[in-house]
Amino acid sequence: MELELDDDQRTLQETVRGIIAKECTPAFVRAVIEDGLDPSPWWDTMVGLYWPALAIAEDVGGLGMTWIELAILLEELGHAVDPSPYLATTTQFVPIVRRCGDAAQAARWLGGVAAGGITGALALGEHTVRATADDGGWRLDGSVAYVVDADRADEIAVVATAHDGVGVYVVERASAGAALTIDPIPVFDHTTHIAGLSLEGVVVSGDRRLGGSDLAEGIAVAVEEATLGWSVVTVGACQRILELVVDHVKQRHQFGVPIGSFQAVKHKAVDMYVAIQRARAIAQYAALTFVEDDPRRSIAVSMAKVAAGDCQEVVLRNGVQLFGGMGFTWENDLHIALRRAKLCVTMFGSTIEHRRRVARDALLGEGAA
C-alpha cells in the first residue's frame, strides 16, 4: 500500500492552503455568519481556479483528477468552514450526473460546473417524490426534506420514482416557478444551506431525465460519494479545532506555567490528535477505493463516516473543555468549526447507523444492507 501523498498532491495541498488563507479567512466566514455577507465572490474565485472542475473528467472540460485530490481540497475547505456551494456541487450533484447521466447530459451539466460554475444539489426523493410522464417531459410531485443548497443551487437533481422505477430529474431552480417551494431551515451551522423542497407539478423536459443505465447502482454510489464528502469535511473542521487548541494551551498561563504543560491537558490534546489521524487515514482509504474501483468501497465509506463521527465527538468535547471559559464564547472561532463538524454527523447516516452497517456486513454478510 502506498498511502502517502505524492509530490503533486502535496503541492496541491500547499497551494489550496495558501489560497484559502488569503481568500476564505476566518474574518470572511464570520462576516458571512454575522452580517449575512454574500459568499458568491469566493465561489467565483474557486471557479476561476478550476476547483469545481477538479474531479470532473477532462473530456467534459474538467481537470480529470481523482477523489484523492478532491479530498485534499475538501479537507482544507472543512478546515476553513467554507460557506460556498462547493460540497453539494462536487460531492452530490456532480456524482449523480456522472453516474446516472448519458454523454450529452454529462457534457451539459458537468461541463457547466467545470467551466461556468453551475452549482448543484441532490434531493433524495425515491420514496417521497413521484414522477409521471407529461407530454414528452416529466411532472414531479412530492417533497424532500433536508436538501443541501436547495435554496441556492442552479440545478437540483431530484431522485423520484416513476411507473418504470427510480429515476433522476434535473430541475432548474430558477425556472421551476411556483410549482417548486423551497423552505430554508435555520440550521445551527450558519454557513451550510439546507432546505425542504416541495414539488407540486414541477415539469421538466425529457432531456432532463438522466438517461444512463443501472440507475439504482448509480444513485447508491453517488450517495456514497456524498457521504464521504461529509466525512472529509469533518476531518478538516476537527483539524482546525486541534490547531486552535494547541496554540491556546501553549500560550495560556495558569499557576505560572503554560496550561499545555499540565498532563491532563496534554493527554486530552493527544486523544484529539489520534482520533483525527484515525479518521483521516480511513477517509483517504475510502477515497482510494473510488479511485481504484475497489469492491470494499461501500463499507469503506461507512467506515469513514464512523471514524469521522467518533473523531468529532472527542475533538469537540476536549476542544471546548481545554479553552475553559474562552471555549464558551461567541468570539472564539472554535464554535464555527464545531458547528460544521456536528452538522456533518447529522447528515447521510448517523455514526451508529454506519457502525452497525459495517458490523452487519461482517457478522451477517448483508453487503450493502
Binding site: E2, Q263, K266, V270, R278
Partner: protein
C-alpha cells in the same frame, strides 16, 4: 496513493510464502509448547534457524545475520505474511526483535558472533533487563550498580518483570556505571549470562495464572561480568536503551493488529448465526472494532513509509497507544458480550494454531488480561501520550 504494494514487494511476499509452505513445522512436530518468552522448544529453534539460513529471519540484515539486505517495504511484507499466517518466527521475541538487533547495532564483532548470532539461530535465548522495582516508566532512575574491577565489572542490584529470565541464557542488562552524573549519562549496557555466579532468577506468576511464569525478579549479588560484555561505550547505555525501545515499538503495531484481527475473527465466528450477531449493541462495538483495525493497518502502513523516509520515531507512539488501547477495548467487549459463555476459563476462544502462542487462543478472560501487557509494557499509554504531546504537538514539558 495506491491500495496495492509495488510488484517487487509482492514478488518477495510470494517467494517467502512458498518458502513457508515448504518449511513450516507440522502440528505433529510442534507438540512441545513454550513455557515462557525465553523458552523455545527444539522444533521452534530448528525452524528459526532455517529462517536464519534462508535469509528470512531479520530480512533487513545482511546474510551473515539472517537477512537478505531487504528494503524496509520488503521487510514489512515478510512480517505481514508471518502475521497473516500467525506464524511465530521466534518464541523468544525480545531476543529476536530487541536484544540481537541492539547487539548488531552497538556491539563489537566478537559480541555479534558470541551473543547476537546464536540468539538469531535459535541456539541461545535472551531476556531484557531494564525495569527495576524503583525504575519503571522512569527507566533512567535505575540503580543496579556495576563497578569496574580488574578485567570487568561487579554487579549488584535487582531487576524486575524480566520476561523469561529463568529460561534465558543471558540478560541484556542496563546498569549504573557512574552515579555522579545526570541519570541518563551514567548508564551502561551489559551482557550478563544467567549462569554467572551471583545471578538469581526468581520467576513469579502473572495476572493470568499463578503458574504463568514469565515475569522474573533477577538479583545480582557481586556478579562478575567480563569487560568484553559491555555493549556500546561505557556510560552510553541510554543510547542503546532508546535504540532498543525504538525497535520494540516499530514492530509492535503488527502484533496489536493481530490481536484486533483475532477478536474480529474469533468473536465473529462465535456469534455468527446466533442472536448476538443481530444485537444492536454488539454491532455497535464490533463495528468500532472493524474500523479500529482498519485504521491501525492504514496508520501502520503510513508509518512504514515514514520510517523509510526517516521520520521521527515518535510516530510509533501513536500506533502503540492506539493499537494497544483498541485491543484492550475489543477484548473487554468480547468478554462482556459473551456473558456466561465466557465464564469457562479453560476453554479455547480460537482454533488451536501450533505456530502461534497458545495464550492467543486461550479463554476470553485470558485475552482480556493479556491486553494490559501492551498498554503497560514498553512504555505505558500515559508515557506514549506524553511523548506525542511533547514531540508531535509541541506542548511544553
Amino acid at each position: 496513493m495506491k491500495l496495492q504494494f509495488p510488484a517487487e514487494a509482492e514478488a518477495v511476499r510470494a517467494e517467502f510464502s512458498a518458502w513457508l509452505d515448504a518449511n513450516t513445522p507440522s502440528v505433529a512436530e510442534a507438540t512441545v509448547r513454550p513455557r515462557s518468552t525465553a523458552d523455545s522448544p527444539p522444533w521452534a529453534r530448528r525452524f528459526q534457524c532455517a529462517m536464519f539460513d534462508a535469509g528470512w529471519l531479520l530480512p533487513g540484515q545482511p546474510p551473515e545475520f539472517g537477512g537478505r539486505n531487504a528494503s524496509l517495504l520488503e521487510q514489512f511484507v515478510i512480517e505481514e505474511e508471518l502475521m497473516r499466517r500467525r506464524v511465530y518466527h521466534s518464541f523468544n521475541p525480545q531476543g529476536l526483535s530487541i536484544i540481537a538487533p541492539s547487539i548488531l547495532m552497538f556491539g563489537t564483532p566478537q559480541q555479534k558472533a558470541t551473543w547476537a548470532v546464536p540468539v538469531l539461530r535459535g541456539e541461545k535465548t535472551a531476556a531484557l533487563g531494564m525495569s527495576e522495582p524503583g525504575a519503571g516508566s522512569d527507566l533512567a532512575g535505575l540503580r543496579t550498580r556495576a563497578v569496574a574491577d580488574g578485567e570487568g565489572y561487579v554487579v549488584n542490584g535487582q531487576k524486575v518483570w524480566t520476561s523469561g529470565a529463568h529460561d534465558s541464557d543471558f540478560i541484556l542488562a542496563f546498569v549504573r556505571t557512574d552515579p555522579d552524573v545526570p541519570k541518563h549519562k551514567g548508564i551502561s549496557a551489559l551482557i550478563i549470562p544467567t549462569a554467572t555466579p551471583g545471578v538469581t532468577c526468581r520467576p513469579f506468576g502473572s495476572i493470568c495464572s499463578k503458574d504463568d511464569h514469565d515475569f522474573n525478579e533477577v538479583f545480582f549479588d557481586d556478579a562478575f561480568v567480563p569487560a568484553e560484555n559491555l555493549v556500546g561505550n561505557l556510560n552510553n547505555g541510554w543510547h542503546v536503551a532508546t535504540g532498543t525501545l525504538g525497535e520494540e515499538r516499530a514492530m509492535l503495531w503488527l502484533s496489536n493488529y493481530e490481536r484486533l484481527d483475532d477478536v474480529i475473527n474469533n468473536f465473529g465466528a462465535r456469534v455468527r448465526g446466533t442472536e448476538l450477531a443481530d444485537d444492536p449493541l454488539t454491532q455497535d462495538w464490533y463495528g468500532r472494532l472493524l474500523v479500529d483495525a482498519m485504521a491501525l493497518r492504514l496508520l501502520g502502513y503510513q508509518s512504514v513509509a515514514k520510517t523509510a523516509s526517516g521520520h521521527d520515531p515518535a510516530e510509533q507512539s501513536i500506533l502503540k497507544l492506539f493499537g494497544s488501547e483498541a485491543a484492550h477495548e475489543a477484548t473487554n467487549r468480547a468478554l462482556e458480550t459473551l456473558g456466561p459463555l465466557a465464564l469457562d476459563h479453560t476453554i479455547d476462544s480460537a482454533p488451536y494454531n501450533h505456530m502461534n502462542l497458545d495464550q492467543f487462543s486461550a479463554s476470553w478472560f485470558d485475552r482480556y488480561c493479556r491486553s494490559f501487557a501492551v498498554t503497560i509494557a514498553g512504555g505505558t499509554s500515559e508515557i506514549q501520550r506524553n511523548i506525542i504531546a511533547e514531540r508531535i504537538l509541541g506542548l511544553p514539558r
